[in-house]
């Protein structure tokens, strides 16, 4: 049953991706992107990554979609027709994809407990979390306690990005030639 749910969600994801490639209206692309993130969140929860699933639903499907919609409001909602052929990008991605699929032959089976990924560090965290930190949710204890400096670095990245966005958008002025037609929000 679990397999079937995974497979259906993965096929949905592939279908949404095809739609994103084909659709030219950017508003539709952004909404499809939100649907993609939400499907991804569901799939992550089906794979026991509940914390990641919730974050993806809130940040990926929520905040990212809002950011993209605000950017669309300030720019253009229609994609221009392609001017050059897509043969080279297609060949490049097919080639890279083939190499990656060849690489999957060396990977261990899905869902096994005795693989290298699942035996050493992850197992240690599961055993030590309660005695050392008394936090039952192991993801929380690793994020905030064992890897606290990692999270500090992450906060630094968000802070830097926030400063960058503020500096880029401060003192914005719409183009003179477009202002008459759109009546833009001059600041």
């Amino acid at each position: 049953m679990e397999f079937l749910i995974n497979l259906v969600l993965l096929l949905f994801l592939a279908a949404v991706t095809f739609a994103v490639i084909g659709v030219r209206n950017l508003f539709a692309v952004v909404i499809l992107g939100g649907a993609y993130s939400f499907l991804m969140a569901t799939l992550l929860i089906a794979m026991d990554a509940v914390d990641v699933g919730m974050t993806e639903a809130a940040v990926g499907a929520g905040v990212s979609t809002v950011l993209l919609l605000s950017a669309l409001h300030l720019t253009n909602t229609e994609e221009a027709a392609a001017r050059h052929s897509n043969v080279l990008p297609l060949a490049l991605s097919l080639l890279t994809g083939a190499a990656l699929i060849y690489g999957t032959w060396g990977l261990p089976d899905y869902g096994m407990a005795d693989t290298a990924v699942n035996t050493y560090v992850g197992q240690q965290y599961l055993e030590r979390s309660i005695p050392e930190t008394t936090v039952p949710n192991v993801v929380t204890s690793v994020l905030a306690s064992y890897r606290g400096y990692d999270t500090l670095g992450e906060t630094t990245v968000i802070f830097t990005a926030g400063i960058g966005v503020l500096m880029l958008l401060r003192g914005r002025r719409p183009r003179k030639d477009k202002e008459t037609s759109t009546g833009g929000d001059a600041t």
Partner: protein, 125 residues
């Protein structure tokens, strides 16, 4: 049990293959499209698919979410470490997306277009 193992192998394969397809589709959008907002959507599809590549090997069949249940020492849990790494990646991903979109808005103000082809044309004229 033998049949079950075969099934698990094929499913693990399908899991990875569709993930790789999603990654490559994101890459294709980034390289082939000239519209910058579409490029950024492609970039976030690329990023989001990488989450699957990380979380999927940490899943253990018969396991549950890594929240310790007291008084049940036999319970299997999925690996928490990939989850933590991906939590960080999600938040960093949205930060880079916001920065990219701010750049697109500025480019639109400077050139009146978010199409890469038109902007290059304007620069060369």
């Amino acid at each position: 049990m033998e049949g079950f193992n075969e099934f698990a192998f094929v499913l693990g394969g399908v899991n990875h293959w569709i993930t790789i397809f999603l990654i490559m589709a994101g890459f294709y959008i980034i390289v082939s499209r000239s519209n910058m907002i579409k490029k950024l959507v492609g970039l976030s599809i690329f990023q989001t698919s990488v989450y699957l590549l990380y979380v999927s090997p940490g899943k253990i069949i018969g396991g549950t979410a890594p929240i310790i249940v007291e008084g049940n020492p036999e319970q299997l849990y999925s690996n928490p470490l990939p989850h933590v790494l991906i939590l960080t990646a999600i938040v960093v991903g949205v930060a880079t997306l916001a920065l990219g979109l701010a750049l697109v808005v500025r480019i639109n103000e400077a050139y009146g277009s978010i199409e890469e082809d038109e902007i290059y044309g304007e620069d060369w004229d």
